[in-house]
Symmetry: C2
Subunit: 305 residues, 2 copies
Amino acid sequence: MPVRFERLALIGIGLIGSSIARAARQAGIVGSIAVQSRRPETVATAERLGLGDDYTTDIAEAVAGADLVVACVPVGACEAVAKAMAPHLADGAIVSDVGSVKAAVIRQMEPHLPDRVHFVPAHPVAGTEHSGPEAGFAELFRNRWCILTPLPGTDPDATARLRAFWEALGSNVEAMPAEHHDMVLAITSHVPHLIAYNIVGTAAHLEEVTQSEVMKFAAGGFRDFTRIAASDPTMWRDVFLNNREAVLEMLARFNEDLTTLQRAIRWGDGDTLLELFTRTRAIRRGIIEAGQEVAAPDFGRQAMR
Amino acid sequence: MPVRFERLALIGIGLIGSSIARAARQAGIVGSIAVQSRRPETVATAERLGLGDDYTTDIAEAVAGADLVVACVPVGACEAVAKAMAPHLADGAIVSDVGSVKAAVIRQMEPHLPDRVHFVPAHPVAGTEHSGPEAGFAELFRNRWCILTPLPGTDPDATARLRAFWEALGSNVEAMPAEHHDMVLAITSHVPHLIAYNIVGTAAHLEEVTQSEVMKFAAGGFRDFTRIAASDPTMWRDVFLNNREAVLEMLARFNEDLTTLQRAIRWGDGDTLLELFTRTRAIRRGIIEAGQEVAAPDFGRQAMR
């Protein structure tokens, strides 16, 4: 039997929230959708886009009667959202989120949620560098992974229902402990974003090279980094502040390895460089084989022109 | 009057050499093309692809009678190529290259070339992560920049003819001193490649996170780095060994800035993070406006599925 929720409440309606609204509607697995944003302009945009059935800035109103509530807000806003929704949640509702960090979200939300609801944290590993309700699209989650991090006491039936929900949106679903999620994402997402933001910042502040030169000659590699360095600033600030330990640990590894390369360059050790550069090709092939990347050269940019 | 060369000799026929062959043929600006590679298999592949008119493993044979000779080999092979071609070059020929490093290429080639030829070093800032003659295509240089680094004594007419050649292949052309080129490329291309290779290497060697997890969840940002970390290993080894000073200088800036971010994360300084993350968005917009990047979200990967 396909999963069905009578009423889905989306708290926050940016790239991820609006993509959930579109995908859930397209999949025909929700009766109605309540859309909430704290900003009236965003609520108005969502209404203009026809993303839901009811629109409000009020969290209490949005969650009333919902059997699935998904917080689609920056990680740093999760505690306030949990507090605001708690007294108004329906008995037996599933409460979830989409945060890129899981242990901190659990610490912030879980203490405030009543026992009569099921809290199942989730993280769809999908996104683009654009943000806001207009940036969403129904296919965003298709063939992407969604990671659930249920707590030890979580009702398995609630976890199964949320898994079926994400599968209906097109995702592959995997469950793992929140701490492990945070370590995996530190290396596959958080540190990559940090070093992308960092190199773009470095390039913008040189005396020897002008910004105009950086932009003109960006096709030499730099432009690949600018995509993720154009991601939502508030979301990413919160990710780093809330996954500090894992990010700092992975960053320390990155720095150790970079120092080794730096030394190899300084001393003209071409073998060390060649060995690494040969090994890294295999990883990309693996990602393409795992269906998580397009095989087109240069991301298919040529074909798009 | 459009530029025309009676005979183009391509020394090396990988991604860049084969793209020049295709683009020059398409533009109708060469009489005939001599294709050389030191590997007989590569010569055979080039012949099967119909990239030129004459095919050889012998540099002397390839350059004989050519009025334009372009070395399309890794930077580390430039000296040997210059030595091998020197006695056989036609009077008044233009000799150029496509290396990603310019001062070292000049140091390696210039002393060996006879006065009766015009040496005009060049660097087309274009490429994909694929290599070999089959990876080339005629549109590779279209709307990309090609940087010429003529020497102080270079004949302006030879420089003008090479400029016209690259413009006919679809490139925008700019001239600058070799040392400045090497600094600009260190930040826009060489350091980005180094840190991409590095993070992919780091991710492959963790105990806490499996390679399978890295590949599955790569859509969180990591996969963007794997593209340039799949570039030709020999070419990139030579780039780092031959642009050591500029790469180490830019890497030092990158490291200083990264240490500042690391400290901000450790001490919970969200303002520093938010300020940088907001600033970096503008750089991407600039690159898109400069026509050096596609504006499609996620590099248009969704549209390509």
